[in-house]
């Protein structure tokens, strides 16, 4: 989507529902997914007269944790504000949010080729779920509201307008989701609405504008093109697709000499297009005011130090370590660091194999092959997560060591691992059985080969007459009798010896 004439300027707002047991300002339970409607609701969520909000400590900790993970400055005082608007999903008539003093500010997220600057991360509350319908018969329009979601803790992460392509936007959103999941801040499932991405996009002529902090300003007499906000994005892929669509549409409009109007558009995933929702001719008038019902909350250095103990090694650091210390390929390093549970398993496995082998790159390569090979194939086939696969680290270490010492062939080793996973069999017992069998079969192998030669006269003659392919057939016969436990190379050399 590189363009010679125009720059693409993207800022991203990401909302994430944080993982708490109770709501942001009351003690109603948060888990509303597929629950009976309007059962997780109290006078606070309903905005009934006299109800007072009481902030949830854990929710604020998770907001600070997200800020620490993205290198933000953490405010030492927390202020809440009221953001007013009239809509049935918000019965109080205002959302408790943060206006001038967000909890976290000035952060950054490093991507593969660039750094995204974070303007702010602030704490707020989610609104109710509403669906819109038309009444059969009367043709009257109406909305149905479930207040279970109203008041669920929500953090908003806002970037500066520093993203320059749809692929950067996608990478950034993926990274944010990864951080949220790694730190158990949120499951960040976009399909369930636990994470929502809203890009705002504008197209400006190259060299005619500059970025000043959070603002895009014109140079000279240049008139900036208005920016477009996209909503209803239901997946990370849709972040990229919707931006690509919108950028092409905007460039076409500008090239046709049309004036771009500031507007909100909705992504229609089925049609793969953005659709006009509403124009924003005037900036929203939310009449922000300080929330008088919540006192200022002091955050000490001890508080942030305590919260920072939850900061575990994040995917970008892991990726770096896997490539530079473990000498893995970038591809393998990416695959292994993407999911926290996979990375934790991999890290443990490497340490334990290395304890025996005293060779870090080899240990890492073994562990990487073991996880990304048979184990991934198996969990993908079963559609389960790595944590529910019940893998035994000690067994996997023994398996890798056997493979490394060439005590067992790769295909046989994979077969054993598969068997242990499929039938929930003890992998170390399978390995022991294999060892017993193979020591017996080693003495038997010559006998088996002799037997195969006797029983396959035609193939033996073919081989002697110069048909090399017959050797493959004879090896196959031996493999069949030994149920694949014989070493093909060893079998071949015995065969050749016996045939001479």
């Amino acid at each position: 989507m590189e363009n010679n004439k125009y720059d693409i300027i993207i800022g991203l707002e990401i909302h994430i529902q944080t993982k708490t047991k109770s709501k942001m300002f009351c003690t109603c339970p948060t888990g509303y997914f597929q629950k009976e409607p309007n059962t997780h609701v109290c006078p606070v969520c309903l905005g009934l007269p006299g109800a007072l909000p009481v902030p949830n400590k854990r929710a604020i900790e998770l907001c600070i944790l997200m800020g620490l993970a993205t290198h933000c400055t953490i405010s030492n005082e927390i202020y809440f504000d009221r953001k007013h608007y009239f809509y049935p999903d918000l019965p109080k008539g205002y959302q408790i949010s943060q206006y001038k003093n967000p909890i976290c500010s000035n952060g950054l997220v490093k991507l593969s080729n660039t750094t995204v600057e974070i303007e702010r991360i602030h704490q707020e509350e989610d609104v109710a779920k509403s669906t819109h319908h038309t009444e059969a018969g009367t043709n009257k329009e109406y909305s149905l509201i479930d207040y279970n979601k109203s008041g669920v803790p929500l953090i908003e992460i806002v970037t500066k307008p520093c993203i320059r392509s749809s692929s950067q936007a996608k990478e950034y959103a993926t990274r944010i989701r990864q951080i949220a999941r790694y730190l158990n801040i949120s499951d960040a499932d976009m399909e369930k609405g636990q994470m929502r991405c809203e890009p705002n996009i504008s197209i400006q002529e190259k060299g005619k504008w500059k970025q000043e902090g959070r603002e895009v300003v014109p140079i000279g007499n240049y008139k900036l093109n208005a920016k477009i906000e996209i909503k209803n994005i239901g997946s990370i892929t849709a972040v990229e697709k919707s931006i690509n669509y919108e950028v092409d549409r905007l460039i076409e409009e500008i090239e046709a000499g049309n004036n771009i109007k500031q507007q909100t558009r909705g992504w229609n995933a089925n049609k793969g297009i953005t659709e006009f929702q509403r124009s924003k001719e005037t900036s929203d008038d939310y009449r922000y005011m300080a929330e008088p019902d919540i006192p200022v909350i002091k955050i000490s250095k001890e508080d942030t130090d305590r919260i920072s103990k939850e900061l575990i090694e994040l995917p970008d650091k892991k990726l770096d370590r896997y490539i530079n210390t473990y000498q893995l390929s970038e591809y393998d390093a990416n695959v292994l660091s993407a999911n926290k549970d996979v990375a934790v398993l991999f890290d443990k496995l490497v340490v334990d194999i290395e304890n025996e082998l005293k060779d870090l790159p080899t240990s890492a390569k073994l562990a990487s092959n073991c996880i990304t090979g048979t184990i991934f194939a198996w969990i993908n086939e079963k559609g389960i997560s790595i944590s529910s696969a019940n893998l035994d680290i000690a067994d996997l270490v023994a398996w890798n060591l056997a493979l490394n010492s060439k005590e067992i062939t790769k295909s046989k080793a994979e077969k054993l691992l598969r068997e242990s996973l499929d039938n929930k069999k003890d992998l170390s017992k399978l390995l022991d059985d294999f060892r017993k069998q193979s020591s017996e079969s080693a003495t038997n192998l010559t006998d088996i080969v002799k037997d195969v030669i006797l029983k396959n006269e035609k193939a033996v003659n073919d081989f002697k007459n110069g048909n090399k392919a017959s050797m493959g057939f004879l090896i196959g016969q031996v493999m069949q009798i030994t149920q694949g436990s014989a070493d093909p190379n060893e079998t071949k050399s015995i065969l050749i010896k016996e045939l001479e």
Partner: protein, 94 residues
Amino acid sequence: MKIDINFLKHMAKLSRIKLSQKELEKFTPQMKTILESVDVLQEVDTAGIKPMKKRVSFSDLREDIATISLTQEEVLRNANHTEMNLVKIYGKIF
């Protein structure tokens, strides 16, 4: 802030209240008087004075424990219309 009939129209729009021309003309001077009397507060010199807002420590915040909410029947009791245990609101709200 200029308090004129356009200001009042804007306020009415934000509050989803329909006001007739006659009402707008009646309420504009009233609103002006109210806001001007509150405006007197702006004359007080507050330079160097810290806000009197109460401050609490982080540890004073509510622990994250969920309790039982209202019953569905209680929640829906005040709704004029319901459908499938959802609050039903007539009108185009986009």
